[in-house]
């Protein structure tokens, strides 16, 4: 169905495009409009990025003067098992978070999308975690998960009285759970919005053709949500590269127990601001940028995000 829809697109698109005389003026106008954003990007994006790259080639303890280090920081960061472990944990958080959050967000979105008072009430309740800061969420969950005084102390819930944040095997999954608790509502909102954009006529037509609810979900809802899915997945994947605050708070600022939750951003922070080794921390930061770049390239290529065509041509 999507294939059929897509072939019809170029015609409509060409029609909508302006005549040959206008592009130059439009481009100048466009640049002007983008100028403030570009300026901010340059100032707060590009300049720090170059700064971090330069810092990664120096020794600096944050106090004294810089000294040139060449590739020494890079050598030690890349040869350090801790870096690769942190990267592995980051990937784990990324993939497991995506696996956990996507079905939940989709299910909640599907539930919320039809209008109705009860659904609206639920939607408001689910929305609450989004209004809280990550630090508040971290501290709350830390208290809730305390085996002696948290939820595990409630009669009937003693099976929860486990070192959920303290066991090296469980801690990472506990963290992933709390991250999901925080972000699933947001992605549910994306899916809800996506669902509400699907024209009712598609469902009506399918119903006339004799399609049941399951068929309609599989053949109309899911394909129509493709780009919502891509958007939500990209946000989840790239976002999980930089999860920091929640993990920092939940692990008491250490990425513990041991190094069981020390993801790459946390390793960067600890190296830079607790061990005061800015050179190595910058090398780790650059690694993160490289992975972010690769990831964003990969998701956009694989998902066909660049060819984000309307799925409703001809409607």
């Amino acid at each position: 169905m999507t294939a059929v829809v897509r072939t019809s697109r170029p015609v409509a698109a060409h029609k909508a495009r302006p005549g040959p005389a206008r592009p130059v003026r439009r481009r100048v106008g466009g640049l002007l409009m983008a100028a403030p954003a570009l300026l901010l990007f340059g100032l707060f994006g590009l300049v720090p990025l170059v700064g971090v790259l330069v810092l990664s080639l120096t020794h600096w303890d944050g106090l004294g003067s810089l000294s040139w280090a060449g590739l020494a920081n890079w050598g030690s960061v890349l040869a350090d098992d801790a870096t690769w472990q942190a990267l592995w944990l980051t990937l784990k958080v990324m993939v497991v978070s995506w696996l956990v959050q996507t079905p939940l967000a989709l299910a909640l979105g599907v539930f919320q999308a039809p209008r109705g008072r009860l659904r609206a009430l639920f939607a408001v309740l689910w929305f609450l975690p989004l209004l809280l800061s990550a630090v508040a969420i971290g501290l709350t969950w830390q208290a809730l998960l305390d085996p002696s005084f948290g939820i595990g102390a409630t009669p009937g819930l003693h099976w929860l009285a486990q070192p959920l944040l303290g066991s090296p095997e469980l801690a990472l999954y506990t963290v992933i759970f709390v991250i999901a608790w925080q972000f699933v509502p947001f992605h549910a909102l994306l899916y809800q919005a996506g669902l509400r954009q699907i024209p009712v006529s598609l469902y009506e037509a399918a119903a006339i053709d004799g399609a049941g609810p399951a068929t309609r979900f599989l053949h109309i809802t899911l394909p129509q949500l493709k780009y919502t899915f891509v958007t939500s997945s990209t946000l989840m994947l790239v976002g999980s590269l930089t999860y920091f605050d929640l993990i920092y708070v939940l692990s008491g600022g250490t990425g513990g127990p041991g190094t069981a939750t020390r993801v790459l951003p946390l390793a960067m922070y600890i190296t830079g601001f607790q061990a005061h080794d800015m050179g190595r921390a910058s090398a780790i930061a650059t690694l993160l940028v490289v992975f972010g770049l690769g990831l964003s390239l990969l998701t956009t290529r694989l998902s066909g995000f660049t060819r984000m065509d309307s799925q409703q041509e001809g409607m």
Binding site: L49, L241, Y269, A275, R301
Partner: protein
């Protein structure tokens, strides 16, 4: 025909792939640098911007705040602006402020390696007896702020050695006496466990409470000279057999179930380890003397009826002096060498820090300030509980041949994180006792 919209179907996402990826990466880098800047917000408290002084300390230092208020009352022309910070990120804030030449005139620290970093970078002024009247302070305490024979900070609050607290009721219930030796401690652990309570409450999630065990065990096993060697920068000193023995003893305690099943989930800042002790869910807790004030605040009846405390047990066969103590001798106030009004700062440090009124205020709060000749003041304390406690702490410090500053404060800051991580791994038995020393000597090189 309605237009199909996906969130983000315009703007950045409409750029060609490579450019979008680049922009995404830049946004990411910006996010990273924001993460980094997050802790650097001293927020326009430049030391030298206006007349008067700035001073940074921790939020819980109310007695310090009172002394600043007293100073400001007497010196309306050269007031001190005091900024108070939460414990966790204070060190990072201070570091970044010094790096950016935005540091306060007077700053609060733990002495040790972190202060030494500033001294080495030429950021801190030496303080002499003539300037700030150093002779009034306990000498073993001043040691933590003394580098190359020169003093760089004055003690600013109470002595904080680490002691073993216990719940009298719980110990009695299990038929256990407060342990005087490590073997008695192990035996007590087994009995308490059999009685169905957590023998020792430990906030292992915060890591530094676990370190306290290792500090004491090493001191008892090998004496204070082992860590003196480590602190002097000798990486090989970490491989001393006493380090392995201390780790072995820590792991033996953990193996015997001393800390229960949940210690690694307990975070000190949440107050859970304190609560375990006063609610009778745990028998003992090893903690700094600040815990007394926490207990008085949270459970005054418990302090009156059931709180007991002893020095850390001795270790048979160890060469260390069982009278030695570890902990935080005190916190210190130091003078920024680029301060523009040093004479005013020195006036504050000399006449207002730990003066008579402040000493009384600390004693009233259950804390022993590190000044000499306190006996008469101690005798005058009215509350019997407080008097017993204050005398215990005072004598513990007076009789100790060595007062070792907490390792995470004593070592250079680049070793603090590997130290805490390896302590945690040793506690979790993820590494063997002998691996601790090997890992640390690698980190120290």
């Amino acid at each position: 025909m309605r237009e199909f919209q996906v969130i983000g179907n315009s703007g950045i996402l409409a750029l060609p792939t490579t450019r979008r990826a680049a922009v995404g990466a830049i946004a990411l880098a910006a996010a990273l640098s924001l993460t980094a800047c997050g802790t650097s917000g001293p927020g326009g408290s430049s030391a030298n911007s206006s007349k008067g002084l700035t001073m940074w300390a921790l939020t819980d230092q109310t007695i310090l705040k009172d002394s600043v208020d007293a100073y400001n009352k007497d010196h309306p022309d050269e007031k001190i602006t005091l900024r108070l910070f939460a414990n966790d990120d204070y060190k990072q804030k201070l570091r970044v402020a010094f790096g950016a030449n935005q540091a306060p005139d007077i700053f609060f620290s733990w002495g040790g390696g972190a202060l030494d970093d500033y001294v080495k970078a030429g950021k801190v002024d030496t303080l002499t007896d003539a300037q700030v009247n150093l002779l009034r302070f306990t000498p073993s305490v001043l040691k933590s702020a003394t580098f190359d024979g020169k003093v760089y900070g004055v003690p600013a609050n109470g002595l904080a050695p680490v002691v073993l607290y216990y719940n009298k009721k719980v110990l009695k219930g299990a038929g256990v006496e407060p342990p005087k030796t490590y073997d008695e401690l192990l035996a007590a652990v087994k009995k308490l466990k059999g009685d169905g309570v957590t023998p020792i409450s430990l906030a292992a999630n915060s890591k530094w409470p676990t370190l306290m065990y290792l500090e004491y065990l090493l001191d008892r096993e090998g004496g204070s000279k082992v860590f003196d060697g480590i602190a002097s920068g000798d990486a090989a000193a970490w491989k001393d057999p006493a380090v392995t023995k201390a780790n072995q003893k820590l792991q033996d305690l953990a193996k015997a179930g001393a800390f229960g099943d949940n210690a690694s989930s307990v975070s000190y800042d949440q107050g859970a380890s304190t609560a375990l002790l006063y609610t009778g869910k745990a028998g003992m807790e090893l903690m700094g003397t600040w815990e007394y004030a926490n207990l008085v605040k949270a459970a005054p009846d418990f302090v009156k009826n059931d709180l007991g405390y002893v020095a850390f047990p001795s270790v048979s066969g160890g060469t260390g002096d069982p009278k030695s103590i570890v902990g935080n001798p005190s916190n210190f106030l130091s003078l920024n060498s680029s301060s523009k009004d040093k004479s005013a700062a020195l006036t504050y440090l000399k006449k207002y820090v730990l003066n008579d009124e402040q000493v009384d205020a600390y004693l009233a709060a259950g804390s022993v300030p590190p000044v000499n000749k306190l006996e008469s003041k101690l005798a005058a304390v009215k509350s019997a509980d407080d008097k017993k406690w204050l005398t215990f702490v005072y004598e513990l410090v007076q009789n100790s041949p060595n007062f070792q500053l907490s390792w995470d404060q004593a070592l250079p800051s680049d070793q603090a994180d590997p130290l805490l991580t390896n302590v945690d791994k040793s506690f979790l038995r993820e590494i063997k006792p002998e691996e601790f020393g090997t890992n640390m000597s690698e980190a120290a090189q």
